[in-house]
Amino acid sequence: MSTDDDVVGSRPTTIRVPKAELPPGSRKVVRAGRREIALFNVRGTVYAIFNRCPHHQAPLDSGPLGGTNVPSAPGTREYGLDGRVLRCPWHHYEFDLATGRCLADPDRLRVRSYKVVTDGNDLVVRLAR
């Protein structure tokens, strides 16, 4: 992993991680200055989020990852979003890795998510908005 290859002032704007360090099914925490970013490779799609739950500041990287019951008619259960739902390890708030939004309160509760692109053998996490 290398960081800080692009820097604005003292703040890194990207993080570079060799693809080999994050094979499908794995997860990894990288640092950008004082920030921790959690990376998840879900069947080849890589997601990056700020590694701290907005609720009680739990580190999110150790949370269980899977699917969930998506909106359905009362009394029925419908499983969906498989592999995209990260649950905080503390209160089990569900976050959609693709958007960072909490499924129960998407407008008010959100963890910062970052765009990840591929550059040769590297993954590049874009930290700037």
């Binding site: 019951n69 909106p71 209160h91 089990h92």
Partner: protein, 359 residues
Amino acid sequence: MVSRPDMRILDADLHHHFRWSDLFSYLPEGTRMPYYGGEPVPKVTGAFREDTISPRGGPPASDPEFVVEDHLNRWGIDYAILSCGSTLALNALPDVDFAGAIARAANDWTIENWFPVDERYLGAVTICANNAEQAAEEIRRVGTNPRMVTVVCTNPPTLLGQAPMHPIYEACSDVGLPLTLHPGALNLFAGRPVSGPTSRCEYRATMGLMGIQHVASLLFEGVFVRYPKFRFVLNEWGTAWLPFALWRFDMEYREHREEVPWLTSLPSEYVRDHIRFTTQPLEESGNKTGLSSLMGLIDGSDMLMFSSDYPHHDFDNPQVAASMFSDDARPNVFFENARAWYRLDERLGLADRVMAYVD
């Protein structure tokens, strides 16, 4: 005279009775209170205001002309919803067909004997919720009367969200009436997790818990998703617990959304859209602004509707109750919220009348 058989007899079961007053001289001071079969707790004082009996006699609030004078005119009440006090313990009757017959009779009696006396009288359709199909039929039968503005139920057989109650919600949605849950027979503690309280004081002090339990059941079982037009009134279960309950509902939903995936917004938002709470008995904080400040935390006064509970002993005087709300909140709590919730303009042509007053 029947001839006595020539044999000796011992009757092992003969019931004799006392008048309570006869027993009192045998009871120690402080325990001289009647215990009624239908009530789990003794009453030191009665359930009624002693000043609500008509000079023409009868039980409290049984004389519609007297109630006009003693209540509507005395306090300047524009509309009052008659929620029959004689049938509040209907669901304690094990024979649901008999209970259903009483409900129908009570509704017809109200329409015939109270509505014509004064146009300020509105009605609540009495039902026996133990047989939901029968209750739904009654809602459809009299719920179309424009002066019937809600349906009232006591002692539901399950927590309100559960399936046995659903036909009632469908019927309420069809006729456009909200369902009101009112406290009923004290010996039926639906929603109590453990044994019941042992005094009236303890029962009444913890009623809010039952109210919260029923509201939570409606919300989390998805009743308002299943019946999007269904509206509900929680009547006489308290109000000061609302901030706690709404915060807690939302908090648990954030944590356990997966168990109730049919909800697509925060529980508190369903409450705002589908539920109103009547005020009596307003919790007394010890200062005039306590309740108002508390409601300010959740915009709660938009969800409250004034109620007096006349002729019961724990009556809220509208003037004292009014002093507990801000000038901004008062018109809403005392009239506008109810006007909207009970669709008075639509049912009574009230809008036209208000316009006419303006002219």
